[in-house]
Structures are given as C-alpha cells and as structure tokens.
C-alpha cells in the first residue's frame, strides 16, 4: 500500500535535503512550479483533500476564496498550523520530527497555489525537537535555492519562517492563531471576514494543518486521481490514525481513509491485560464519546458523525473500565476551562462552572440538581452560542459522557463518592 506521508518518515534520523530528494522529494513542488497557480488549486480540489486540522473542510475550496490575479492584494500569507495542542493528539509532531522536508515542500506548493510570498510555520512552543529539525530543513532549502527569490529561475519568490508559540490551546484556532502571529493576545476573530480575504496583518491568508500540507507533495507528484484512489471510501487519501490510553502499544499509523476504529485498536494490540474498553473519543479531547459497539465505524467524516461524534484529528483516546468516566470528563473540562481565551461569556464563565460542579460530583458532594445544571450548561455552551468552537468542543465529551455513562454519574451522587475510588 502507498504511504505518501510515512514513506519519508525517519524519527531517529530524518532525511536531509539530499536524501529527501533522492527518494522523490521536491518533485511535487517542481511539478507545481511548472503549472499556473490556479491549476495547482484545481488539482488539489480534484483530489478531494480534506483539511486534517479537525473540521475536515475541503482544502481546494478553502483556497478558492483567496483573491487571485492582478487586482489581488500584493502580500498574501500561508500559515502552517502546527500548534497541535488537542489533548490526545500527536500526529503532527510525528510528521514534523520524522519528515521535516515533507512539510516544507507541502507549504511551498500551497504558497505557490495561492500566490503567497511569505509563509510561517506556527509551531507550539513545547515541540523543541520539531523546531530544531524544521529550522535545519528550512536552512537547507534556502541554501539550495528552493526558498528565497526567483525559485528555480522563475518569477516566484517565497520566504518561510518558523514561529514558536508560547503556549495556549486557543492558538490552534485559525483566527486566534493569526492574532498570535501578529504578536497579540490570541482571541479569535469574527468571521466574516474570513482569513482568506482579511487575515494575517489584514492580508489574504490561508491557514492549513500540518498534516493537510504534508499531503500536497504526493498529490502534485502522482495526480489527484491516484490520491482519491488511495482510500476506498468517500474521503480521499491516507490519514495518520492513532490511539492512546490503556492499550498495549499506543502509536500512530498511516492508513487509508475510512479504516475502521476496530482495526486501529487491533494494530495497537488491543486493551492492556485485565482491562476492558468502555468508551472512546475518535479524534481528540473535543469529540463526543463513542462506545465499543461503534468500533466498526469507518473513521471517515460522515460515518463518524452518523454515529454521533466527530472525526476530529483522527487520533483516538480509549477509556478503560478501571478509570472513572466522570473523572475523565473532569480532566478534559479542566483543560478546556483553563485554555479558554476569556473572550466570550459562555466559555469563559460556563466552563469553570461545569468544572466546579463536576469536581463536586467526583468528590461525592454532588446532588441531583447538579446533574440538571450540567445538562443546562451543555446547552449553554453549544454550537452557535459561543464565539469560537472551543467551548462546543469542550461540551462534546461532557454531553455524550452524561448520556453513555449516566449510571456512573448517578452512582457518584447516590453513594456520595467515586465508585472507581478516585
């Protein structure tokens, strides 16, 4: 099976420029450079590539809103979203540590396609090894004339800079990320205007996830048809899937889009001994719980939403029977409450409120009223009510958890304590 991403991957000793080139690297970019930017856009559209940052929006369509042509603003930006702070997600780090040149090539293709002359990698501050390896790769590419002015003798010039962030999950939200890159407080911005039109420094900007961008070299090199056929299902290409929690071998695998969750669980060697699966989050902390009965669901956008959750980042977290679901949800919500940017009321004040109630329940001080209050708070922070998607994301494990693990909640209240002894 083709593994267009992980074929380049070497975590201990990532390929340098030469090695990358000899295995076919930068061919995608060179192909792109021989095409018109709009043609590159079309090829990506045809490939049906969907963004891997969580929302699964079609990359080609997203690009098509960028003003092109002579009347378009002079400066445009491409930004790689490498902020990966979604708890339970570690796929972008894997790609950047293992194949830095793959990301850089992908960014070059994207930048060319939208006519951007400056690109930034927005990297979370904790990823020190990524930073070193990426900077090395950027330097190599610059020295080789792949970045800079008049690349390969064409009219096209591109600068690429690495920005290391100083923390905060909200920086991953694309408009907050733009504020953070501008050196401001990372509150999200209202849409419209969309970043494609008014983005970084007020100029047209595309923000794409790291994994999304890593898909581009393959698409350009092998064509959109090839890419679409990598998966058997409706979502094209391959995906970095993964799993963490109490499984035997947590990890990541590049698999065709639409692989079932069960298959991924099996790849990890299944649950650790003496543990049973109680539930799982399909793609990071901000996705709804699913149950063992949902394991045969194909990990693709529509299939997962049909069973009531979201694909998210595609990296699963599993809950075993020795850990308390209430405790798990409390841990998740504490994260979100702490990472709220403080801009809008429901998130800023609703999440800490939910944490306060959940803590009491977990400590055995909860009442029946508290359950109602939690239920209400779920509605209070739901989609459309908050400014950005952070709080609704936070609510997903809570509301599904309250549904699937209602008994556990009830026991906490009835027995005034955690049945799991937490």
């Amino acid at each position: 099976m083709d593994k267009p991403l992980s074929q380049y991957l070497d975590l201990d000793n990532p390929q340098n420029l030469d090695a990358y080139k000899t295995t076919g690297g930068y061919q995608g970019f060179e192909t792109a450079l021989n095409m018109q930017p709009q043609e590159v856009q079309k090829q990506v559209s045809d490939s049906q590539l969907k963004g891997r940052g969580g929302a699964g929006f079609m990359t080609g369509i997203k690009w098509s809103f960028v003003p092109m042509g002579k009347d378009a603003p002079k400066n445009k930006y491409l930004v790689c979203n490498a902020d990966e702070m979604e708890p339970g997600t570690f796929k972008d780090r894997w790609l950047m540590e293992g194949a830095p040149h793959l990301l850089i090539e992908g960014m070059m293709i994207a930048a060319y396609a939208i006519g951007a002359d400056v690109a930034y990698i927005f990297l979370r501050g904790e990823y020190r090894l990524c930073a070193t390896r990426l900077q090395q790769a950027i330097d190599e590419a610059e020295a080789a004339g792949l970045l800079g002015n008049n690349i390969n003798g064409t009219q096209y010039s591109l600068k690429l800079h690495l920005h290391t962030s100083a923390g905060r999950y909200i920086c991953g939200e694309e408009t907050a990320l733009i504020n953070a890159l501008e050196g401001k407080r990372a509150n999200p911005r209202a849409k419209p205007p969309f970043p494609q039109v008014v983005g970084l420094f007020g100029r047209p900007t595309i923000v794409n996830n790291c994994e999304t961008l890593c898909n581009l070299p393959g698409i350009l090199k092998n064509g959109s048809q090839w890419y679409a056929e990598l998966s058997g299902g409706p979502d094209a290409g391959t995906k970095i899937y993964g799993i963490s929690g109490r499984v035997k071998n947590a990890g990541l695998w590049e698999l065709p889009m639409g692989t079932t969750a069960r298959h991924i669980l099996e790849l990890s060697g299944s649950m650790q001994d003496n543990l049973t699966l109680r539930g799982w989050l399909p793609g990071g902390a901000s996705t709804d719980f699913l149950l063992p009965e949902h394991l045969d669901t194909r990990m693709e956008y529509d299939a997962i939403s049909k069973v009531g959750s979201r694909m998210g980042t595609g990296v699963m977290i599993v809950l075993d029977d020795k850990h308390c679901p209430v405790g798990m949800i409390l841990n998740l919500l504490k994260f979100f409450a702490q990472e709220s940017c403080g801009w809008c009321t429901p998130c800023r004040d609703g999440l800490p409120w939910a944490v306060e109630i959940l803590s009491r329940i977990e400590d055995g001080q909860g009442t029946q009223d508290d359950l109602d209050a939690l239920q209400q708070l779920c509605g209070f922070m739901w989609i459309g009510k908050t400014f950005c998607a952070l709080a609704p994301g936070a609510v997903e494990p809570l509301r599904s958890g309250m549904k699937y693990f209602a008994d556990d909640f009830q026991q906490h209240i009835d027995h005034k304590g955690c049945p799991h002894g937490h």
């Binding site: 209202a190 007020g202 403080g342 009321t345 800023r348 409120w353 209070f380 009510k385």
Partner: protein, 930 residues
C-alpha cells in the same frame, strides 16, 4: 429600508444595521453588554441572543447573536423563544459567577447597566456554589476608581480606551476567567478621555472618583442640562446636584457634538464652582459689603464715562447686557490685540463657511491640520478626527461585504487603507503620531505653505511672495485633489491670523476645484478652533464695532478718567493688564466668579454656570444654553442681573428688564436668528429627575412630609419640574438625564437611535448664529505676517488639556493633574547646547522654571513653551537659556510637594463638608415650606 419580522410582527428598519441596534431603535428590550453604538460590534458577551428562522416554515430556527447579524430583507427572528430567553438568563448568571453582588457600596448602583439587564433577563437566583475570584484593584489616579471584582469581562473599557481613544496604558491582561482590565502597574490613567470609562463600563469597575468619594444615588440627584465651559466645542453635559452642591458631570447625548463621550477636562472641571477663591460676597475696596450700602451706590452711579470689558468666560447674556449698558463704542471684548485680529478674521471666515459639527468631521476622508494642537485645545474634536481615520477602512470593508460596524475587521484592514492625515506644525500629540504627512514647521511656515497650496489648487487664489512648496505640501495637494470630504482644521492657539487666512483660502480653492470636477459636489469642511467656550459670543456682539484694546490703552493713559466695568476674568494675563489700567481708571467694578478682589474695586459675585441660565456660542457659532442645577450661592446673582440692577441705579433703559426672558427678547431684536433657539428653550418644562422618582420623592422626608417644590431659577421663563419633558419623545429638549422605562443606566441613550453619526443624521442640530454671506473672499498675504525677528529663539506656545484652561485648574481633580511648565527643544539644539531632558531651565530673566523635554517635533531655532494658565508668561522670544541651580531645583521640588499636600487637605475638607451636610439636611432648600 428592510422589512423584517420580529416575533411575527412586521417592522421596517434601516438596512445595513445590525439586528441589535435595529431592535433597540424599535424600542424593544434586548439585553447586551459588549456592543456600543459608537464602537460597533464584537460579539464577545453573547448576551444579545435571538432566534433566526430560515423562512415561515422553519419552526426550530437557530440561535444568533443580534449584534453580529446584519438585518436583511424579509428576515424572521424571535426574541421570545424560551430557549434564547433561557440562554440570556444563563449568560447573566454565568458572567456574574464572580461578581461580588456589592451593589450597596457601589457608586453605580441604581444606574447600573448590569442591574438593568439582570432585571430584564429575569435572573433572580444564584446557583453557582464555587468560590469567587478576587482581584487587587489599582490606583488609577484622581479621576477614576477601580474595582475589578465587579468586572463582567465585556471588553468595552479596553475597546474604548485603546481602540476608540488611542490610550496605551489600559489593556486586558491574563486570560480565561481571570481576565483583568488595568494598567501594567498602579498610576494615573494617561488618556484625557479616561473619564468616559465611568460611563462605558456597564457596571461599577470604573467609577467617578471625586463623585464616588461621597456618592449619591441617581434618584437622589437633581440634574440639569448644561454646557461644558472648558473649551469651544460646547459639549452637552448633565450637571447633577444634591443638597445644593454640584456633585458630578456626565455626558449628555448630542448626536451632532459630543455624542457619547466627553473629555476629562469637561467631566471633572466643573468643581471650580467650589474653589476657595469663589466669590460669594459683595466687596467694596476689599471689605464685605451689601447692595444697599450708599458708598457702594455712589461708586456704581458714577456719572463719568463707563467702559465695559466683556469676557469669553461669561455668557452671551452677560456680555450683551454689558454692551447695552455701556454702549457698543465703550464695549471692549476683553481680548488682547492679536486675539482681536483673530476674532475678526474668524468671523469673516464663518460668514463664508459654516463650520462642521463633530459628527460631520467624523465623516472626513482626508484631514489637514495647520498648527493647532486640537488634542489639547479642544480634545473632543481630536477624538472625532481619530474616528474619521477609519473611514477608508470602512469603505473597504463594505466592499468586502463586511458591515462597517464589524469593529475588529475594520481595524484589521485600517493600516492598508488609512485616511490621509496631514499635520503642518509642531508639538507631539496623539494625532501627530498618526500623521501620514507631517511637516514640522513654525506657524508662519505652515501658513505660507497653506497659501501656496491654495494657489496650486486654484489659480484664483492669491500667492504668498515667499518660499517654495515643500514636498509635504505637494503630497497634500494630491490628497486634496482626490478627497471627497476633506477637513481643514486650524485654530487660535498658535496666535497667528495668517493660519486662519490660509485655511480659508484652501477651503475656497477646494470649492473652485470641485466645481471643475465631474460631480461638482463640494463637501469640504473648514473648522477653526477658538480658545474659549464663548469666544464667538463676543464675535457676534462685536460685529458692528467695539472699543479696541489699542484705543483702550491709549484712552486709559489720557487724563480723562473713566470707569471700568469688568465681566468675569481671572487669567493672570488679564489681571496683569487690568493692573496697568487700574492706575488710570477712576473706578473699577468687577463681576467675578473667582479670584481675590483688589483693595480698590467693587466686586460683585456672579453665579457660575451651575447656578444660572446662560448661552454660549461654540466654535461653529452654534448657540447653546445651560440651565442651573442649584440656586445661586451667597450673594451671587447672574452677571446680567447685576448689570440690570446697576442700570436701575443709573436709570438706564436696561433697568427696565425684569427677567431673563425679557433680556433674551432684546437679544432677539438685535439678532433675530436667536429667536428660534430661545423660543424652543423657553417653552420647555424641565424635569430634574427621572420619571421613576417623579414628584413622590422622599428626598427630604426626614424634615417635612410636604412635597418640596422643585427649585426654579428666579425670573426664569421655563419651569423646572418633576414632570417635564420625557425621554423617548421626539425632539426632547433639553434632556437633563438619561432614562427610559427599564433602563436606569446611561445606556438608555442607546435606545431609540436608529443610527449613530450616520449620513442621515437629523438635520436639525440647533441654531447657528453667524449668518452666511455670499462673499467669495480670498485672503491676501499681509506684509506684517512676514516680519522677521532676530532673537536667538522663537517661542511657540504649547497647550495642555490639564493646564491650559484656567477655569478647570480651579477644580481640584484637574489641579491634581496639572502639568507644570515645560520647554520643548529639538534633539539637535539640545545636543548643541548640552541640555538634557528633565532639566529645569529659565528663559532670559523670566522667573518661570521650565522643565525640558526633547522632541523631534520642534522646528529649527524654536522653543515650544507651555505654561499653565494660572501662571503669567508673556515672552515671545528668548535670547538665552539658563539652567536652574541646585537650590532652585530644591525649591521647585518643595513647592510641588507642598502643593500636593495642600490638595489632599482640600480634598478632605470638601468631603467633610459634604458629610456634615448629610447630617443636617438644610431646610432652606425646601421652597414654600417653612
């Protein structure tokens, strides 16, 4: 216009607005926090939730926040859906999880937007069981008090302070539910608009400190519509009193002028009425006296010639009465020689060009400022210009289909679509920082370039014989050729009539220029800033001649002695002038609000603006009247009343006047254009309190059960009442306070206005007193404007918000912020002379110690000098600078320290006085009850 359905009811609203604004203007009650009509929408608080339906068949709908949703034709929304009602209640509950519920000790109580909204949503029970966060508060200086625990994180303070007013020392800090609004560390807020935080904050985080030191509830205050006395803009204010003392000034909404905001000089300057040197008694030769005294009468009846000296600090009525009493030929406006020229030039220009309102200036798409530091001379104008700088970005936003009320978006694109701002002049200021074209030059050079510019725009404009156009002028020429609504602004502060002439010529040239273009539309604006609240009132009265200061100087030195009748003046410059004349005058009679009476004069105490009615002409020549909030103190009387009484003694016809209405009748005869204003003003029933407390007040219930009759000004043609004009009626005028049912906070102002400062503002903005002529007058460059001075240093005057207005320096909060005298020098000159920033210097043999500031905004061989208005400094140029000795520095520091301690004592005394007053509510405040 768009047809929309709210809860199945059909309405027609202006399109392009957001749904929140539309709903409020329909008088519907939709709660909100982060939105503000002047600051647009950001969608942070989520309080204004509504339901939107796709069409008639959609029964579920989805939640939207109204402030971020543009109204569109046929849109269907609901405010009454249980889900959204519940959401709105939850939202309040959530944002109050950390609110201390300390309403009893909060100065905002009873006029709190948070209280209003809480009642509106029906949130009545606290469910949150966790601990509340506690923040430490900061000392933000003498004007604004900080109580962070009350914060509901609506971000309005930051958006006003930073984005709207350009302040840099207040910002959001920390994050999540720990967001903190304050400075980096304790210290006085630097923006001269900081006081607006008091009204912008929907709860009690930022409160009025002088008021809060001894606050009253809104329902215990009686409020009169007033006009700010501290610069020529004439912002509309609400002046509130309790038990006969004035307690605070708040903004009084005026769509054309101040809108929602005042500057701090206006908000905190009013308390000069309580200054130590406030005149409360009649004095004769320095001794207390009374009206019936024969010696006094003899002095007032003197048969000799009477010369009247008017004042731009006094009302139009006072000046008019004086002019009537002494006759035009004996009426001197009380200005210096240069100012007389400025006034004449200014009036000539106003005859030709109507000055724009602030609302109009906010529509400008290019701005040129010639040597006028509006940031300091008329701060509210500078704030409006700041808003105009967003106009091109708004146009661009609309092109991108983003409504211009999407504040963050507009600000994001602003840097790429700036409104050109050209500054020709000197001195650092907020506007100078944002200039796209900046020529640092002397006023004379600025005027020359202005003349040149006019002649390049139109060949009909006269050319100055001098100098060549600077590159800045050429750049500006291009800007003006393209602009549709350029604003040209200059003023009196540089003391140079050539600037006014230059600005006027450019305005003329733009008219010629625009008639030559396709659409022929001439929307250029010309604004000239005079120094004081009623400078143009003098202009109106002196149009047909007056006694000039030169003749006054001559006549005072001749043998024939005359009597001087002087209206209110307390500036050191005037006192100095008067002391020269004093030697020759037979007899001096002064009508004063402030100051220590001299040993050889009759001094009659006049009511301040807080104690009587009066009218002022602002920079546009717009007449505005203020009404009293309290009775006159001591023996005070309105100035015109004293003059009428003197006229009676002397059997002058003015003595036949018996009340203000009759006096205004006389004014109307001379200036028929005033009729409209006075008629409207006089028919008003004026409610001093909100309808909520109307009449049935318990204010003095511990003294008497009789309902006290509201105080009415003696002889006033209007009636102060408890049931006067109510808000919400069209054309309510004057509006003393802000209130509407359910809305006790000043945010009630936000209702009923379908557009703020939009292009379709109601035309009716008041009466302009200076009539437009048809003349097409060009100014020629005058030879005396080119006079050179050979002195080493040329001195250019600088202004400061807290320091250049003498009246407000008598108000303690402003005095506490008074800036000491400064001298500003260019880095080059400083280096040459070996001067260091912070040093104390003296000019020639002048005794004013000036602290040195080094700035690039100083033209060559010039010194910018600022001296507080309560100090005398008359140098025009200087030969030599001397550094202060160590001893002088010590003395200077001692003085300032001493001043600060005294101010603390004064503050304490004032508070004690008010406290004592509370204990014994004086029964004499109750009219008609013994």
């Amino acid at each position: 216009m768009a047809k929309i359905f709210i809860d199945d009811q059909q309405y027609t609203v202006k399109d392009g607005q957001n749904l929140l604004q539309a709903s409020l203007s329909l008088k519907l009650d939709l709660p909100y926090f982060c939105w503000h009509p002047a600051m647009g929408s950001v969608g942070a608080c989520r309080q204004c939730a509504m339901t939107q339906y796709q069409d008639e068949n959609d029964t579920r709908g989805r939640m939207i926040v109204a402030c971020m949703t543009p109204v569109t034709e046929g849109m269907r929304v609901s405010m009454q859906q249980p889900a959204e009602k519940e959401f709105r209640e939850q939202n309040i509950a959530a944002l109050m999880t950390h609110h201390p519920h300390d309403c009893p000790v909060c100065a905002e109580g009873g006029e709190c937007h948070l209280q209003d909204m809480t009642v509106m949503t029906g949130h009545n029970e606290r469910h949150y069981k966790g601990k509340k966060t506690t923040f430490t508060n900061q000392d933000l200086g003498p004007l604004v008090k900080h109580e962070m625990n009350r914060c509901i994180t609506c971000y309005r303070c930051e958006r006003f302070y930073k984005d709207y007013a350009g302040g840099t020392d207040l910002a959001a800090q920390a994050s999540r539910n720990n967001v903190y609004f304050g400075r980096q560390s304790d210290g006085t807020l630097e923006s001269e608009f900081a006081g607006n935080l008091v009204e912008v904050c929907p709860t009690g985080v930022f409160t009025d400190k002088p008021f809060g030191d001894h606050y009253s509830r809104k329902w215990d205050l009686q409020t009169a519509p007033s006009i700010c006395q501290h610069c020529s803009v004439g912002c509309n204010t609400s002046l509130s009193e309790r038990y006969g003392s004035v307690r605070r000034v708040t903004n009084r909404f005026n769509d054309h002028l101040n809108g929602y905001f005042l500057c701090d000089r206006g908000r905190f300057g009013f308390s000069f009425v309580d200054h130590d040197t406030r005149r409360l008694n009649i004095t004769l030769d320095g001794q207390q006296n009374n009206w019936a005294d024969t010696a006094l009468n003899v002095r007032l009846k003197n048969k000799g010639r009477w010369i009247g000296i008017g004042s731009s600090q006094a009302s139009l009525e006072d000046n008019f009465a004086l002019q009537q009493l002494v006759g035009s030929e004996n009426f001197n406006p009380g200005l210096d020689a240069q100012q007389e020229v400025l006034l004449a030039t200014h009036m000539a220009i106003l005859n030709q060009w109507q000055a724009p309102s602030l609302a109009q200036m906010e529509q400008a798409d290019a701005i040129v400022i010639f040597a006028e530091d509006v940031n300091n001379s008329a701060p509210r104008i500078a704030l409006s210009i700041r808003q105009a700088l967003l106009n091109n970005a708004k146009v661009q936003a609309e092109k991108l289909r983003v409504p211009s009320w999407q504040d963050a978006a507009v600000r994001a694109i602003q840097p790429h679509h700036p409104v050109p701002l050209a500054i020709f002049g000197f001195g650092e200021s907020d506007l100078a920082k944002q200039a796209t074209i900046n020529l640092v030059c002397s006023p004379k050079q600025a005027a020359e370039q202005g003349f040149l510019l006019a002649s390049m725009l139109s060949d009909r404009a006269p050319t100055p014989k001098v100098s060549k156009a600077s590159s800045e002028t050429l750049a500006l020429l291009e800007v003006l050729r393209k602009a549709k609504r350029p604003l040209i602004l200059t003023g009196w502060s540089a003391n140079n009539p050539a600037l006014l002439a230059a600005a006027s010529n450019i305005r003329n040239a733009l008219k010629v220029h625009s008639t030559a273009t396709e659409n022929g539309q001439d929307d250029a604006m010309l604004c000239i800033v005079p120094p004081e609240a009623n400078t143009l009132g003098l202009g109106l009265l002196t149009q047909n001649g007056y006694l000039s200061i030169d003749s006054l100087d001559v006549e005072n030195s001749t043998t024939e002695k005359s009597n001087l009748l002087v209206l209110d003046h307390c500036s050191p410059a005037f006192v100095n002038r008067l002391s020269k004349w004093r030697k020759c005058a037979d007899n001096i009679v002064r009508l004063s609000q402030l100051g220590i009476p001299d040993a050889d004069e009759v001094n009659l105490p006049v009511s301040t603006f807080s104690e009587c009615s009066g009218s002022l002409l602002n920079y546009q020549g717009l007449i505005q009247s203020h009404l009293p909030a309290t009775k006159p103190s001591g023996q005070c009387m309105p100035g015109w009343q004293w003059l009428v009484n003197i006229a009676k003694l002397r059997q002058h016809s003015l003595g036949e006047i018996s009340d203000l209405g009759q006096l205004r009748g006389l004014l109307n005869q001379d200036f028929p254009q005033l009729c409209e204003h006075f008629n409207q003003h006089h028919q008003t029933q004026l409610a001093l309190q909100t309808p909520r407390v109307s009449g049935r007040t318990a204010m003095l219930a511990n003294q008497t059960v009789h309902e006290p009759k509201p105080f009415s000004e003696l002889g006033a043609p209007y009636k102060q009442s408890m049931e006067g004009t109510q808000v919400g009626q069209k054309n309510e005028f004057p509006l003393a306070y802000s209130w509407s049912p359910g809305w006790n906070s000043n945010q009630s102002n936000h209702k009923f206005r379908d557009e703020y400062r939009g292009t379709e503002l109601e035309k009716q903005e008041g009466v302009r007193c200076i009539k437009l002529g048809q003349s097409d007058q060009w100014f020629k460059w005058q030879a005396n404007w080119s006079q050179k001075n050979k002195a080493q240093w040329q001195i250019l005057p600088l202004q400061k918000v807290f320091g250049s207005d003498n009246l407000s320096l008598h108000a303690l909060p402003i005095a506490q912020l008074k800036i000491q005298a400064q001298i500003v020098m260019s880095p080059l000159d400083a280096k040459k002379g070996g001067y260091v920033a912070g040093q104390l210097l003296y000019c020639d043999d002048n005794s004013t110690a000036l602290q040195l500031i080094i700035s690039t905004q100083v033209p060559a061989s010039c010194l910018l000098i600022y001296v507080p208005a309560d100090q005398l400094f008359e140098l025009q140029h200087c030969e030599q600078l001397t550094a202060a000795t160590g001893k002088q520095i010590d003395e200077y520091s001692q003085q300032i320290k001493h001043l600060q301690t005294t101010q603390q004592t004064v503050k304490q005394q004032h508070r004690d006085k008010l406290l004592a007053q509370d204990q014994t509510i004086p029964i004499h405040f109750i009219d008609g009850v013994i």
